[in-house]
Subunit: 211 residues, 4 copies
DNA sequence: TATGAATGAGAGTTCATTCAT
DNA sequence: GATGAATGAACTCTCATTCAT
């Protein structure tokens, strides 16, 4: 609600913007490590070196800080992914990029992106505002996959009994589903195996033309 | 420290077992509604009518109560599912039963089972003890699916390029993945559509023999 | 709202009741000294030796503690005054007792009662619940004075152009009005002078028969 | 440290004086509505449209702002009343004007003056500087009433057993006393009844000559 | 002169837990 | 075995104030 800090255009604002950025990154790390529900102001303060009262001054309430951190993380991720996908011409390459990128977010020891995603879902279950953010993010991922799929079908690269929208839903479900297992260190799902099984399933479902 | 739930056989224990059972059911409802992190002793006390100090007397710490509630819920669910699956002869029927049962746990307005599952994963991300419970539960589901799949492959009912273990991983991922969308009221995934898309994907992946 | 503490009948309750009583007396002292708006939990805790969290356990919110303290003080005072007044037969003696008792509440160095009264009014200006308590207390004082006055008029002891209800309003206004001056250490109103002027005014207004 | 309000004579100061004036009026409204103890910088900023830091720049600390607001209000009121009183020749008319003016300050729905007076007393109970302001104001009111009374006695218009100083004390006590009841919406004291009872009491006490 | 940025101090409230019965 | 009483710890939020333009 309160947004007193300049996002960083003017000279004086640059420093404020910089601190806000650092606060958001710190908040994301805290959320990933402890979970959104256990992310306290004092944790973010310790992680960022910014006083608690300053965090409150920047973001308002605790909930607003969490929302801002989630938003920051998803925007950063989505922007990068969309750019990369568009730079690839082949639909199957686009799909594999998306899948690998998503699963890489759960890489053991470097799973911040994946954990943030999980926390975002969870938080969205009970927070109205977060929920609409999550829905919007999913719609972007969905469109990305559905478009690649439709293009693959059109061009004859893919042959599938499912619609492109169904493929998008299935793909996202697969990625979230294996992500959970990876994040939970499930012994039945290794990182390498996760990438392989997801790609194998999509390859089969899409009937990818070998040529 | 933690006590396994008294099922209520001994004479003096019968009433205590009854109360514990009610406490666990109440705890599950609270967890599903508010989330494990926000589930307070006082919430369970209000929901069950049992005083806070009695809950502590029965279960020990807050964490122990949550663990017991999760355990109670997953045991109840698994016992039922395993029985039902074993009563079915056809592998595809077994798979469809498992899939439908899982997705039904996210039925809008009656999604206690699904929400408990989500909370269990999440809690297991940061709680050592919960995590091994989650792993054990997944291994049961995994075995159930892998066995049906192996039987289907052996009998020629299924024709697939994936191993039965991979099918198990994919199936569970799909179910969790669509469950998340349903639990989050995602407008892109309706309940009916979720059942359909999961079955369509599995049907395609398993190359189910039409006969 | 919460009233978990026995008021002190049973053996175990006696101690709890005792502590609550001490908390209320301490709260009254703090209110008199610092003012209701500045009366903090920690002040009452320091004054009474009871931990803050125990005060909250006993009374609930800060507002409830203040209300309870005000109520405790006014009940104690009113009970005593009503008893004393009834024990006096002559209307003028009754009136003088009330007036002197009220003004004595502002005795320099021993003005707890007077200050509590002032804080009660003030708090009642903005607190709904306090306000009705204040109204109720005033109605008791009013009735007391009006009855004495009516009796004096009936018996010929008083001769006045004002109604007994008007005399009650005037008397209470006078007492509050001089009380304010005394509480504020106004150099124009000394304690002795205050008693004198109030009695002189009432004597004149009531046309007290010299006999 | 505290600056007397710039009335706005110097060229550069005129605008600043205007803003200060508006800030003081806004502060008075806030004090009347919420009470001095609950009057925050941010409330006055919202009420006046002047930034918090500017208010601090103009007035210094919070206490200084409150003092300035009280001073502004009482000066405005006193100046007007003194002028009006002096324009009246008859002592009883002077007294009635003072009484009516005071009670009118508690007119329901338009009781800013009355509430400010109450807050001023109260604040003066614990603030040294405010207290001397209050004393000074009371001395002005006192002199006004005592002079009218003395003139009335001298001219034979009044016949009373009380001294003119006592009449002043009684009058002010009456006015404050009924003001409290009015401000507190006491059901036993209506606005019309308050005016009537005060005038009746003074009429009786002063033994006003009917001629 | 005027104002936004930043921050320390403090307050109420929640809650798990300990203790005594 | 069961439960009410009591309490310390932690957390969010408010607010006056200081600082840097």
């Amino acid at each position: 609600m309160r947004e007193p800090v300049d996002i960083g255009k003017s000279r004086s604002g640059r420093r404020a913007g910089r601190r806000k950025f650092e606060a958001l990154e710190a908040a994301a790390r805290v959320i990933a490590e402890r979970g959104a529900d256990a992310a306290r102001f004092v944790d973010v303060a310790d992680e960022s070196g910014i006083p608690v009262s300053s965090l409150q001054y920047y973001f308002g309430s605790r909930e607003d800080l969490l929302l801002a951190a989630f938003r920051h993380a998803s925007e950063t991720e989505l922007t990068a992914v969309v750019g990369e996908v568009e730079s690839r011409g082949d639909p199957w390459e686009q799909i594999t990029f998306i899948a690998e990128d998503a699963v890489f977010g759960y890489r053991p020891g470097d799973d911040l992106a994946g954990r943030i995603r999980i926390e975002a879902w969870r938080f969205g279950l009970r927070d109205e505002e977060m929920r609409s953010d999550v829905h919007r993010d999913y719609s972007v991922w969905h469109r990305l996959i559905a478009q690649s799929t439709a293009e693959g079908i059109r061009s004859g690269r893919f042959t599938t009994t499912l619609s492109s929208d169904q493929i998008a839903v299935v793909t996202l479900a697969l990625l979230d589903g294996v992500g959970l297992r990876l994040a939970g260190s499930d012994p039945l799902v290794t990182f390498a195996g996760a990438v392989e099984v997801v790609l194998a399933a999509l390859h089969s479902l899409l009937g990818v033309d070998a040529s």
